[in-house]
Subunit: 197 residues, 2 copies
DNA sequence: CCCCATACATACTGGTTGGTATGTTCCTCA
DNA sequence: TGAGGAACATACCAACCAGTATGTATGGGG
């Protein structure tokens, strides 16, 4: 065995199926079909469907969030606001029509599972916290260097930015319209501009 | 029979159960238990679980949206921006801790069902359109009377406002924190202020 | 007074679900 | 070389699901 190839295929199939159907509606048999393995393999690597879902969050969604939404904010060659705007624009460009119709995988899971399972809630909350911290730090850095207004609270503003982003994706998902995403994104970028001093 | 009392009880129980569990995970038997009736009654009034869900949107969620989010915007005694701010504040105050943990029923259904059922998508989209139109009209009125900046597009801005509101509720739901809702709401109100000329 | 539709209640069905118990292959290490 | 565990595959299970078929009480109209 290379390095748990079967496990990785299970994770990927589970991620796709959960993204399509939601966690509760995702059928284990459908996941097994997609991964091309059997139930024995699944329960060899995961103790239950819920633990499979947890692993999808920990090992699939978290790395995506970090690489496309968080780490680009560390690139210090651009001023903070431009860095935020560029990160958002680049992440948005990456989405194809199908992904827009399916929405943000983190938000989907958070909305579906956080009221009914504490394990999911803890994990999604952890991811949101990491995201918020990196935006908060970026805003604070801009305040220190004088490029961002000092009358805003970085943590509150970061919270609003994340909320607006998730809201935009939700709206676009429901409208099934890439155009709606861009129009809504314009609002976010405009708001970011209003933060500069 | 007064006026379909049983039907109303079914709708209410279905609304509650769907709000708690989501539509697909909502069990008909649980709904029947809550309503205190049997399967015969349910299938006397509704042809399927899906039609029950449609009815919840049409006859339960839509009236709520109209009365607490749309109609207050017609109150012309306040200037447009104040009207928007007051509507949002009042709607937010109405939410108790449990409702915050369960999120916006419209957004919940839209997120869960719009990618997999066109009937749900059409209905949630219709509700969002009505909401957007009333906000757009309010913004346009403010532009005409000179109290709102003329360099913003009312429709795009309305889209962003709705997105931000839904985002705030989503964030608060995941954080299970009324405080998060207020902090995030501050962001929305601040954004609305930035629209005045 | 009877008839029949309305308004439910009860009992049941086929299909699907997550989960388990058991079997089999193969590779490693003693 | 053989013992044993890792890595799966196959077959099965009870519980639950939405939906249906049938039964029954009741109230109003002819």
């Amino acid at each position: 065995m290379t390095v748990d190839k079967t496990r990785r295929e299970l994770l990927e199939a589970a991620y796709t199926e959960i993204h399509l159907q939601g966690f509760q509606a995702a059928s284990l048999n459908a996941i097994l079909n997609k991964a091309g393995v059997t139930k024995g393999a699944l329960y060899h690597y995961f103790r239950s469907k819920k633990e499979l879902g947890y692993a999808v969050l920990d090992e699939w969604i978290q790395p995506y969030l970090k690489s496309t939404w968080i780490e680009p904010l560390n690139n210090q060659t651009l001023p903070p606001i431009e860095r935020l705007k560029q990160t958002i624009s680049q992440a948005a460009e990456q989405l194809d029509e199908q992904e827009i119709q399916l929405g943000c995988p983190l938000n989907n899971l958070a909305q579906e599972m956080s009221p009914i399972d504490e394990g999911f809630r803890r994990r999604t909350d952890k991811l949101y916290q990491a995201w918020l911290e990196s935006i908060t730090a970026t805003l604070a850095e801009g305040q220190e260097s004088g490029s961002i207004r000092k009358d805003i609270d970085p943590a509150d503003t970061a919270l609003f930015i994340v909320a607006a982003l998730e809201g935009c994706i939700s709206i676009a998902k429901n409208a099934q319209s890439q155009e709606a995403l861009f129009h809504c994104g314009k609002g976010v970028l405009g708001y970011l501009d209003s933060l500069s001093s």
